[in-house]
Symmetry: D2
Subunit: 311 residues, 4 copies
Amino acid sequence: MNQRIDRHSAGVFIIAATPFSSDGALDLDSTDRMVDFYLDCGVTGMTILGIMGEAPKLSGEESAQFARHVLDRVAGRVPVVVGVSGAGLDNMARLSHSVMDAGAAGVMVAPMPGLGTEVKLQGYFAQVCKALGPDVPVCVQDYPQTTGVQFSVETILQLTRDHDQIVMLKHEDWPGLNKLSRVRSESGTSDTPRLSILTGNAALFLPQELARGADGAMTGFAYPEMLVQVVDRHKSGDVDGAEDLFDAYLPMVRYEQQLGIGLAIRKEILHRRGVLAAPKVRAPGPSMTKADHEELTRLMNRLDRKLAALG
Amino acid sequence: MNQRIDRHSAGVFIIAATPFSSDGALDLDSTDRMVDFYLDCGVTGMTILGIMGEAPKLSGEESAQFARHVLDRVAGRVPVVVGVSGAGLDNMARLSHSVMDAGAAGVMVAPMPGLGTEVKLQGYFAQVCKALGPDVPVCVQDYPQTTGVQFSVETILQLTRDHDQIVMLKHEDWPGLNKLSRVRSESGTSDTPRLSILTGNAALFLPQELARGADGAMTGFAYPEMLVQVVDRHKSGDVDGAEDLFDAYLPMVRYEQQLGIGLAIRKEILHRRGVLAAPKVRAPGPSMTKADHEELTRLMNRLDRKLAALG
Amino acid sequence: MNQRIDRHSAGVFIIAATPFSSDGALDLDSTDRMVDFYLDCGVTGMTILGIMGEAPKLSGEESAQFARHVLDRVAGRVPVVVGVSGAGLDNMARLSHSVMDAGAAGVMVAPMPGLGTEVKLQGYFAQVCKALGPDVPVCVQDYPQTTGVQFSVETILQLTRDHDQIVMLKHEDWPGLNKLSRVRSESGTSDTPRLSILTGNAALFLPQELARGADGAMTGFAYPEMLVQVVDRHKSGDVDGAEDLFDAYLPMVRYEQQLGIGLAIRKEILHRRGVLAAPKVRAPGPSMTKADHEELTRLMNRLDRKLAALG
Amino acid sequence: MNQRIDRHSAGVFIIAATPFSSDGALDLDSTDRMVDFYLDCGVTGMTILGIMGEAPKLSGEESAQFARHVLDRVAGRVPVVVGVSGAGLDNMARLSHSVMDAGAAGVMVAPMPGLGTEVKLQGYFAQVCKALGPDVPVCVQDYPQTTGVQFSVETILQLTRDHDQIVMLKHEDWPGLNKLSRVRSESGTSDTPRLSILTGNAALFLPQELARGADGAMTGFAYPEMLVQVVDRHKSGDVDGAEDLFDAYLPMVRYEQQLGIGLAIRKEILHRRGVLAAPKVRAPGPSMTKADHEELTRLMNRLDRKLAALG
């Protein structure tokens, strides 16, 4: 019996990389190591096949295989959300049912590009919910930088009123702090069910987002232990301690957050930390130059010194 | 006492070119000739300084000068709408009041780029209406191809309910026939005031738009007499005759409708027809090649033959 | 031994719909009928799984099944190009090799979104050609309205100089008549190999494009016989006759060319003409209103009358 | 005799705010105070009427008035660059000549939207240089997030080879560290004249950019003294000290860098620091909520503590 995400899901749902070996094949050994690493870091959930990951570069078979492999390795210890965004609702429903049967906790759906009015957006999610059926919990991904689609607060609240299964918001509008404040204060009221809010955008504003009522983070930083500790400290009331720790990592957060190249950096760090056998990104994709490697080394060293100074 | 646009404005509001002499200066003699030409064609209104015109290439002084000159020449015979879209509301209000004082019938406002939710759109037009004051009638321009901003039918209806001064819609969403049908049938009801709907998009669908309830056209075709006759015939019940005439011009409508180069073609035709002294487009802007000129000649000749055959 | 597209491919490559039955399943009976219909119309080639078709809504298995089915039915009588554009080069190569083995004549590749400089574009096509291997002929699709990626003439010419396998351009930049003229005159020279140029954009400018040197059309009009006859008449020197016929169909060309809804219209016409059992478009997708149906009926009747009048 | 920017310009060119009083009028007293403040911070230059400032909300008269006022107050002590980007080349030339006559050091030009190929980009800057005449030094602004126009390294190098007056690059492509490295290493060679490179993007990567060869920064941080000290320390060889100082400010750099709201935050900080009489942003524009104000207070306090700890 697998866990499901719900309106109170909280903590750190790490966005998992998709490990490849140097020749580009799915690397399932590294996948096992990565899952264990994330769990050892204390994450409370995992998200795979995300929109900015390499899901579109996997074949249908590879996606299903990777999802099943991760779900088997996790074995119900934490909930696993699976990204299923795509052009056709039939494919989306098929993948969703397959991963839910295999133990997923819910699916994440970003709107397809071109939904330029809120009326269209609401129509789209009505179609999605109908295609998935009511038993599949949905995390709505609000990520206009990539999708080009903007959600108003009003639309987000309407979606959660209209659809019992829409239980979570992956918040990565940018800038979006006031949006987060409003969704927090205007959901969980008498007429609008609470939404779990997990924040993305590489955690660049995590302390601010927690102060404004986020339930945690859903993002892909290569030092998941920072995300976990910041969320834990904040929750326990040590708001300044949380932010002090965050600020020590901020130069690296900023560095990983670079669109495109950020994925290569993240995989390189996971490789250097012994998690991934190879930092391989599938073509077409970014790669790091010699200058990037030296810069990263320097930033990793500076991070070590800062953490040592923090004690 | 100048005419104002209102919720029943109808007919053909021709989008006027801004004539320049070969050296790029405003050409006020050609402006006079153009105004007379449009009036001779039987237009029921005129729109100047439109979004796809060359308004952004005029200095503030030139815009004011051109608007005053046209308004003087028209001398109240038909209503003149002035495009005032721009980045700042102070400038928009200043220009609007200046042209209304000089006899304009209303202003046309397109949303600024980046208004990606309907909530933002409605907030923007509330700001616009406040800045303009209640005495300035507004034509809302729905032109997503250029602005990147999409209006839902619901937003259009809400705007006209919320603001007495929003009386007209320049409809050029594309494709947009069903949108037009809905705005027509859902405005003019007990709770939603009627909107005048004039269609743009170079009139590519004018017969269909009239059949769906448009009040006329607001566009910039170089043969305004066609627009006038099609609207008149349609209104008098000769629906097939209207469409037969339209179809004869359709190859040219399609040709002028080309984004960018279409402006050069339109000015060239007005030049060949003796209206503009020069077909000059200000830099940076499109220009016609030798092949374009020959193609246009051929299309003009074919049009003449078709009109002769129609009788 | 299957035909391959080459630098002299010409005529009409019809963009094929993907037929679905009312419940959304692939409809292979209608597929057979559609292939026969296209061949009866005299097309010289066929293109399947195109970028604006419903290819992204097919699963990997369905794409492969549909392609094999069409290729079997065509049985080498005309060359078949297969659209293989997508996010990952591994998937693209896999699909390409599979359809080439099954008898395809070449593949069509549109650049992925975000290739905002010509240097990136050239790098992308170098990666594509390497991934496909030299034995797969490539048609480059220049379609900025959908991809957001613009090709200069210089880049197109460089691509064909750099890659022997890039033999065809699907020209649908818009407006693009001068671009077409330049590619025609600047390829097929001593240092730049000739490119076959087939035009898209629903054939809205077909007579002009043929006059400027296009080798034919690659588009999806529901009356393929018009495309075939216009190209044939033009080639035989009857330039005015070609354009007269085209102009009779132009109201319908314009009507089908509407983005989004155009696909539903095209399928509805093919349904009315007895080709498709159902006009089904997969979700999410456009559908026709009652007003659309009546409008289409009217336009089809007007077309019949015009063709009768042409004799 | 005013200073001109040249290929070796370096240091910190602060992007100046445009001060308004609470009623929205230009606030020239605050302008004086702001100019003095910037000079006291040790900036080596100033940039006014920038693309992300409020220049589009000024009337032509206000722009000219503000530019003259700043130039008078600066009185030649540091070079002042004036943003002149806009839709028409006539207006651009007029404003450029006016400010150069008043003592500006050069102008900054961003490409207009829609220049989707490098060929078009090069054509545009050729037109710009011709319109300005050879005596106006130009800083090219590479800012794709706002303009939608991408420059390749090759295009940047070509521009500086083709136009003697293009002497400076405002680098704010994102992410863009490798681009910066390449422009640095591939200009200043035997065939490509050196380009001064100043970086933007709110200085989020300033230490990395200096390490990769940037000559300094051209951005709008509300603590210009940090930018000045970081550049100075880096230049003097204290690379780690520069980065330590930068990292102390990084939470604030990140906070100000938020698109849209960042302008309100920047003006609020300048207001709190006693520079601007009012934090007014012209409509339509962002404003800060109560939560934003509290958050900012907290971040400013944390910054004070960090600076105290640094000693």
